[in-house]
């Protein structure tokens, strides 16, 4: 199943969809449950939750009451076993699509798959350190130096957090169960469109 999510003219403006996350983050300050010094993992969980990271990085599945998060794949990104067909052709302003897992997205940038943020050393962030995570967010590039991060990742918004906040988020991500899940590589627009 494919869900058309928005009428969005360009990837640049996709970030606006996720401004809700930034708004939530901005509102966090006055009622923070813990400081990084007190318990960085708790604070990191708070920030990851408020920033809506789960919305894209934890796959959705169909439960008895409708779509729900697949907690067995908490923040594990697009499930490697879910092979997506080519995205629907864009029609006018309807140019962004996502799958029912909310982990694969298509748009003018091609097809992107949300990353495995668990500490699995082979397929997740297990070999990263906090600085790599910070650099990735700050520079909006994989490992801080490599390929650009793709929409809908709102890196520019998350980058408004402090280094301490980002360290806390990383500490939380290191604390969750590792999930071995090799997320597919992104698909370039020309290839995505040409795939039968």
């Amino acid at each position: 199943m494919t869900i058309r999510v928005a009428s969005i003219p360009s990837p640049r403006y996709l970030g606006a969809v996720l401004a809700l996350a930034a708004g939530a983050l901005a509102a966090c300050g006055s009622r923070e449950p813990a400081t990084a010094a007190d318990d960085p993992v708790a604070r990191g969980k708070y920030l990851v939750t408020a920033a809506l990271c789960n919305d894209c990085h934890t796959p959705m599945k169909l439960g008895p009451n409708g779509p729900e998060r697949d907690e067995a794949h908490l923040l594990a990104g697009h499930p490697q076993g879910v092979v997506v067909p080519p995205p629907p052709a864009a029609q006018g302003p309807w140019n962004v699509s996502t799958t029912d897992t909310m982990t694969a997205w298509s748009g003018p940038w091609g097809v992107s798959f949300t990353a495995n943020l668990t500490p699995d050393p082979e397929t997740g962030l297990g070999t990263w350190d906090a600085q790599t995570f910070i650099d990735t967010i700050r520079n909006a590039r994989h490992m801080g130096k490599g390929r650009p991060l793709l929409p809908p990742m709102p890196a520019e918004l998350i980058a408004t957090l402090t280094d301490d906040d980002l360290r806390a988020m990383f500490a939380y991500l290191r604390s969750i169960p590792p999930v071995r899940n090799r997320v597919p590589d992104p698909i370039a627009p020309s290839i995505a469109a040409a795939t039968p």
Binding site: G110, R138, A140, K145, R147, P148, L150, T160
Partner: protein, 345 residues
């Protein structure tokens, strides 16, 4: 340059662009005078003369230059009087406070000049200056810019944050070190530039007294990549100059286990890090266009199965290497690397 910035090209020639949160000049160095707004005030040229170098500014030419879409380049260094580079670690020179280096990028005409400077707190700051059309002066563009250079992809002037992507590693100064300044220059190095008159090289630098601690052996036998063939020497040099700044096992990407710099403190030959970490070695990156293929960095004898070569050839932003600073494939490098990989069979 961000993807957003890189998408901006105006028919008129250029447009200021860059990350929305790009640092302003000098923002990271509150105790240091702001960066000059005009290149003319950076100390590169004599007052009022863009074609005359200021006293103490010396040209240099690395033997393995970085590919920037065919730009022709000129480079200069200024070391404060009485100060010297500490070359005790031949692979990580330590530059004195006050060091400044400039690099000019030209496409038929000068387009931009970059500068890096070591400031009083020991950190480095970065600047890019965009030349006006008649070459009279260049102005600071901290947010970067995209410049039409006669059709095709634009030349991307980096924002301050982009500079740090390559220059925040173990050796912030790239292209000015023992191997790059060796007088034993590689005649097969792609895009090697003529050594300009008055250029400083390793012996000249040592003789000037502004290089201390260099192991004397490097003056007796100038640094040279110990390769098994001229092709391999040039290939390893290219990887050193174009990839080793980031793919350095002392830096932020160490966990990748991919080391493409040529370290003088390594014995070289078959144990060269660039060979040890690539030949027959699997990596994480896929072969562009064939995600199901084996992910072998360099498959000896099989250029088309070698991920490293495919990524050097690619200009798909998701696969290309280097990931920034270039929008056009370096055909000469692709040919060299393919020839080398074929030889490895």
């Amino acid at each position: 340059m961000t993807p957003r910035a890189s998408a901006l090209v105006l028919a008129s020639g250029l447009v200021a662009s860059g990350p929305a949160c790009a640092p302003t000049a000098g923002a990271d160095h509150a105790d240091v005078a702001p960066l000059p707004v005009r290149l003319a005030d950076t100390g590169l040229h004599a007052a009022g003369a863009v074609d005359v170098l200021a006293p103490g500014v010396r040209p240099f030419s690395p033997q393995y230059p970085l590919w920037t879409d065919g730009a022709t380049k000129r480079r200069w260094i200024y070391l404060p009087p009485g100060a010297a580079i500490d070359a005790t670690d031949p692979d990580a020179w330590v530059f004195p406070v006050g060091t400044r280096l400039w690099k000019e990028f030209a496409f038929d005409r000068p387009v931009e000049t970059r500068m890096i400077e070591r400031v009083a707190d020991g950190s480095w700051r970065f600047a890019a200056y965009l030349w006006d059309g008649d070459g009279a002066d260049a102005v600071l563009v901290p947010g970067g810019a995209a410049v039409d250079v006669g059709g095709g992809p634009p030349h991307e002037v980096p924002a301050v944050g982009d500079c740090r992507l390559c220059h925040d590693g173990p050796t912030p100064v790239l292209g000015f070190a023992a191997l790059q300044l060796s007088p034993d220059r590689d005649p097969a190095a792609p895009h090697a530039e003529p050594v300009p008159a008055g250029a400083v090289d390793l012996p000249a630098l040592a003789a000037s007294g502004q290089l201390v601690g260099l192991p004397p052996a490097y003056l007796v036998t100038p640094p040279r990549i110990a390769a098994r063939s001229p092709t391999e020497r040039a290939a390893l040099g290219y990887l050193h100059g174009n990839c080793g700044g980031c793919h350095d096992d002392r830096g932020a990407l160490a966990e990748l286990g991919l080391d493409l710099r040529h370290a003088l403190d390594e014995p070289g030959g078959a144990t060269d890090p660039a060979l040890r970490t690539t030949l027959g070695r699997s990596g994480r990156a896929p072969l562009p266009g064939d995600p199901d293929a084996a992910r072998v960095r360099i498959a000896p004898g099989a250029p088309d199965a070698s991920v490293l070569l495919a990524r050097v050839r690619s200009r798909d932003p998701q696969h290309q290497m280097p990931p920034l600073g270039t929008r056009r494939t370096d055909a000469a490098a692709v040919a060299l690397l393919a020839r080398w990989i074929t030889e490895l069979d």
